[in-house]
């Protein structure tokens, strides 16, 4: 078998704390990752568990094993419904939901998040939508979602879901006027300044390039 000098760099990074430290420094609640004892209760508690590739506990192990690329490009974090089952059951009290969100945010900031992951897109749109006026514009948000894959696809989807749409209209729970003039905060400008500042501060603290808000 080969002596170390013949080994590739990827192998060298294996099972060092480099990536773990990176996560601790840059990911919300990242300092908890090292405390996982691999019991798997989070994996078994997740409602979308069957649908994702890596369970939280496995993600944590991958972080310790130095699998930076696999972790940050994984779609698993984006499957979190924020149900907090894992959090209340974790015997080590890890704030798993927050860590999953944090990893997702970090992946996005590094531009590694899986572009076509629907929840990824949805999450960005939501943030964009709610921060534009300070309040969510539900109609624009919904339509925005329908039309994100282009106009035709959007029309198709809207048509497919027309039952729901009309139902909500009838129930006065979808308001056409929102397209023209939706809810908004008076001090929009203040909110924008405040959020811009927040992102500067965070970028400063995390020593990473401030990321662009899309749209």
């Amino acid at each position: 078998m080969g002596a170390p000098n013949e080994l590739n760099l990827a192998a060298l990074a294996k099972y060092s704390n480099d990536f773990l430290r990176e996560v601790e420094a840059n990911v919300e609640e990242g300092e908890w990752v090292k405390m996982c004892m691999q019991c798997g209760v989070c994996a078994g508690s997740c409602p979308f568990g069957p649908d994702w590739e890596h369970s939280p506990q496995k993600i944590f192990m991958m972080i310790r094993a130095g699998k930076r690329q696999e972790v940050l490009t994984s779609d698993s974090m984006w499957m979190c419904t924020s149900c907090y089952n894992c959090v209340v059951r974790c015997p080590r009290k890890l704030p798993i939901t927050q860590i999953m969100h944090g990893l997702a945010t970090y992946a996005h900031r590094l531009g590694l998040a899986p572009k076509m992951q629907p929840t990824y897109q949805w999450s960005l749109q939501f943030w964009d939508n709610c921060t534009r006026t300070g309040r969510v514009n539900e109609l624009k948000l919904t339509l925005g979602l329908y039309f994100k894959e282009g106009f035709v696809a959007g029309v198709k989807k809207a048509w497919a879901l027309r039952g729901i749409g009309f139902g909500l209209l009838r129930a006065k729970r979808l308001n056409p006027f929102e397209l023209i003039r939706g809810h908004e905060c008076k001090d929009k400008a203040g909110i924008h300044r405040m959020l811009k500042k927040a992102q500067e501060i965070e970028a400063r603290r995390l020593k990473i390039p401030q990321f662009k808000t899309e749209g």
Partner: protein, 428 residues
């Protein structure tokens, strides 16, 4: 046992389980005067409620019989049951202890003939079977009970039931006028061997103990397997009395968990491994056990036993902390949900019965130990640093198996003897 006048030479042992009995006997057999205090109606403690010990699968009552015979034969031990320490004052070599004696309503004349039990109709949940069955309110705790003397349950005092018991006793042993007494005695040293209690399984919400009939604890399972137990040794489901041939054993039920007990309770892995043998004993080839675990802690020579069980094709090991249990509405089967973390395999396993390998909670908190005696964050007794002669023994000091508990109590006995001998030398 002769009447003893406690003196500055006396060693007080609190707790009549295997640890307390051991500490008392080892000290007494060194020639020391010992007072052994037990809060329940009989000596024996938790181990008297076990069917078999790991790894030998021998019977706890066998060792209990020997220890009881040693106590009967000893001229140095005085036993108080239904007695609780309410206060300890003084210092090493010179303690004054207050004992609260709860009435048994049966005096020393009792011959354990059982006529009172025949006369009484009222029943209570059987504390010696963790309430899995009921016993008449006039009862002998269990076949090995010592003192071998009946108890009239306080719940029937002042009712006609109690009078029936009194009327039935031909030896004037039933004394309904008994009152709570307080006793003050002197002791040179105190050994605190108050043991442990099973962690409250209902607090482990995802497992539905208390909500789902067929989710029980490992200590309850022990009673099911025991011929002295509520089912006469038949392993059956609480919901429908059907034989439980496919049983799930869930490790770390309350242990190694910041939401419950922070410590590892040490015995649970071994207890479950042992209980898989009960399954084979009861159902032979039809038995199926599954152990859900994080780490199997078959420490030191127990590894041999672990290997034996691993070799049994009727026992399955899944490395997983079970996420939740759901009850099948029709069959009342517990269905376990979780993930086998060795390679990430999701499961939803149906069993006849789920047994929670329940954690060990020290029964120290709330008891009358002087402040100088610390408890650690898990509630275990820690040695006093101020030279107090109050020594922890057994599971009051750490999560221990029987063997280690006995080592610990034997050591505690010597520490107490050191104090007695010191004050004796000081006097002479």
């Amino acid at each position: 046992m002769p009447e003893l006048v406690a003196t500055e030479q006396t060693i007080l042992v609190v707790g009549g389980g295997i640890s307390g009995m051991t500490a008392a006997l080892e000290a007494a057999e060194c020639g020391k005067q010992v007072i052994l205090v037990e809060s329940s109606a009989t000596l024996g403690g938790r181990t008297a409620l076990l069917y078999r010990y790991f790894p030998k699968l021998c019977h706890p009552t066998c060792g209990l019989e020997i220890n009881l015979r040693r106590i009967k034969a000893s001229r140095n031990i005085r036993v108080y049951t239904l007695a609780e320490v309410t206060r300890i004052d003084g210092r090493s070599g010179d303690y004054t202890v207050s004992l609260k004696l709860t009435p048994r309503y049966v005096n020393a004349s009792c011959t354990a003939c059982g006529d009172c039990a025949k006369a009484v109709a009222a029943t209570i949940p059987n504390p010696w079977n963790y309430g899995l069955d009921r016993i008449t309110a006039a009862y002998l705790p269990h076949a090995m009970a010592y003192p071998q003397r009946f108890v009239i349950d306080p719940s029937i005092i002042g009712t006609p039931e109690a009078d029936k018991a009194k009327a039935a006793c031909r030896y004037g042993a039933v004394d309904l006028e008994m009152k709570e007494e307080t006793l003050t005695l002197k002791a040179a040293a105190v050994i605190w061997a108050t043991g442990w209690k099973p962690y409250d399984a209902a607090k482990i919400q995802p497992y539905g103990y208390g909500r789902f009939k067929n989710v029980i604890t490992s200590v309850e399972f022990e009673r099911l397997a025991d011929p002295h137990g509520p089912t006469g040794g038949r392993i059956v489901r609480p919901s429908d009395g059907k034989e439980a041939k496919d049983v799930a054993f869930i490790q770390c039920a309350g242990s190694r968990d910041e939401n419950h007990l922070r410590h590892c309770s040490r015995i649970c892995c071994m207890a479950s491994l042992k209980q898989t043998r009960f399954m084979r004993e009861a159902f032979g080839e039809a038995a199926q056990s599954t152990i859900y675990y994080i780490d199997i802690r078959a420490i030191d020579r127990f590894e041999d036993f672990y290997k034996q069980v691993q070799a049994d094709p009727h026992v399955r090991f899944i490395k997983s902390k079970v996420a939740r249990i759901e009850e099948d509405r029709a069959s009342a089967d517990p269905v376990l949900h979780g993930v086998d973390t060795e390679g990430y395999l999701r499961y939803a396993n149906r069993h006849d019965l789920a047994v929670l390998a329940i954690g060990m909670e020290p029964s120290v908190r709330g008891s009358a130990i002087p402040a100088t005696l610390g408890e650690d964050s898990s509630g275990f007794l820690v040695p006093a640093l101020d030279g107090a002669a109050i020594f922890g023994a057994g599971c009051a000091t750490n999560a221990l198996d029987v063997n280690r508990a006995v080592q610990s109590s034997t050591a505690a006995a010597l520490r107490a003897i050191q104090v007695v001998n010191r004050s004796a030398r000081a006097e002479t």
